[in-house]
């Protein structure tokens, strides 16, 4: 019962934040038709679906484990889309496009475990570390505070995945800390949005200014 009381609001908060970022990214894609914004839309939609599944998994009884794993897998797919966008930026040379799959390839170095949930968490952790490093590298180039916050948020998400993995090995050890850090990570990622004028961005969603370009 305590688990539901704590985890449900956290998951719903994560769902709200990621859905909001995803919707903003979609409004950007609909307006300027940028592939990177489409990837961010897929990423945050997937993460939001993951949070929805994690929340519903709390009430699924016998199927709880399966639904939780599906939620974590959806979030890992979301993290992959962000990592993929960074790969396209960093490996911007056409003869070796297969290197775009680099973040996926390193997932072979997953932390050994004996369950699907364990495997998915390891993949999420590796993808998040990669994305966090890439974002921090971008911060070093541009020195934008908002990029630093996104990079720190992604770093917190990676830490949350690591603690969740530890919690998996030693149940109950970092459960509350892991979930709190995860939501704090998404919160940190949400902060830079205050300067974008969210209402105007979402208002453009249906205008399709750049459609057909």
């Amino acid at each position: 019962m305590l688990e539901v009381l704590f985890e449900l609001p956290m998951n719903l908060l994560g769902l709200g934040i990621s859905a909001f970022i995803g919707r903003f990214a979609y409004s950007g894609y609909a307006t300027v038709a940028s592939p990177n914004l489409l990837r961010l839309t897929f990423a945050f939609t997937s993460v939001a679906i993951g949070f929805a599944l994690l929340a519903s998994g709390l009430f699924a009884g016998d199927y709880s484990q399966a639904i939780t794993t599906a939620g974590l897998a959806a979030q890992a797919i979301g993290y992959f889309f962000i990592a993929f966008s960074h790969s396209l930026k960093s490996f911007d040379f056409s003869p070796h496009r297969h290197l775009l799959l680099a973040p996926l390839a390193i997932t072979g170095f997953v932390i050994p475990g004996n369950s699907l949930e364990h495997l998915v968490r390891s993949i999420s952790f590796i993808l998040l570390v990669y994305v966090s490093i890439e974002t921090m590298a971008s911060y070093m180039q541009g020195r934008r505070t908002s990029t630093l916050m996104i990079g720190s948020g992604l770093g917190l998400l990676a830490l949350a995945e690591l603690l969740s993995w530890y919690n998996f090995i030693f149940p109950g050890s970092f459960y509350v800390a892991a979930l709190s850090i995860k939501v704090a990570g998404f919160g940190l990622m949400f902060v830079p949005f205050s300067k974008f004028g969210l209402a105007s961005g979402l208002g453009r969603m249906n205008s399709q200014i750049g459609s057909g370009l």
Partner: protein, 94 residues
């Protein structure tokens, strides 16, 4: 990390910015093809197809063999600037 090439959207924004500069900001005669090629740094062949697409989308219009930005084009540039900032917070390009 590689500096990278300009994306399709950013080239479009460069073309529209040049057209805007020669539509409102003191030079209201419009931008010639030569100016667009030089300022937006796009080859002539590619510029032709892009300008056609921009005219078709209603972002640019032609007046006496010169190009001017439309109201819709200005709205696009504003949106581009906003979402460019959004993508850059993730360390990405629009």
């Amino acid at each position: 990390m590689v500096a990278g090439y300009r994306t399709h959207v950013s080239i479009i924004a460069d073309i529209l910015s040049t057209a805007k500069q020669y539509s409102y900001e003191g030079y209201d005669t419009g931008a010639t093809v030569t100016l667009l090629i030089r300022k937006a740094n796009v080859p002539h062949q590619r510029l032709g197809s892009m300008v056609s697409a921009l005219k078709q989308a209603g972002l640019l219009y032609e007046a006496s063999a010169k190009y001017k930005i439309s109201e819709r084009g200005i709205e696009f540039l504003k949106a581009y600037s906003e979402f460019k900032g959004f993508a850059e917070t993730f360390g990405l390009r629009v």
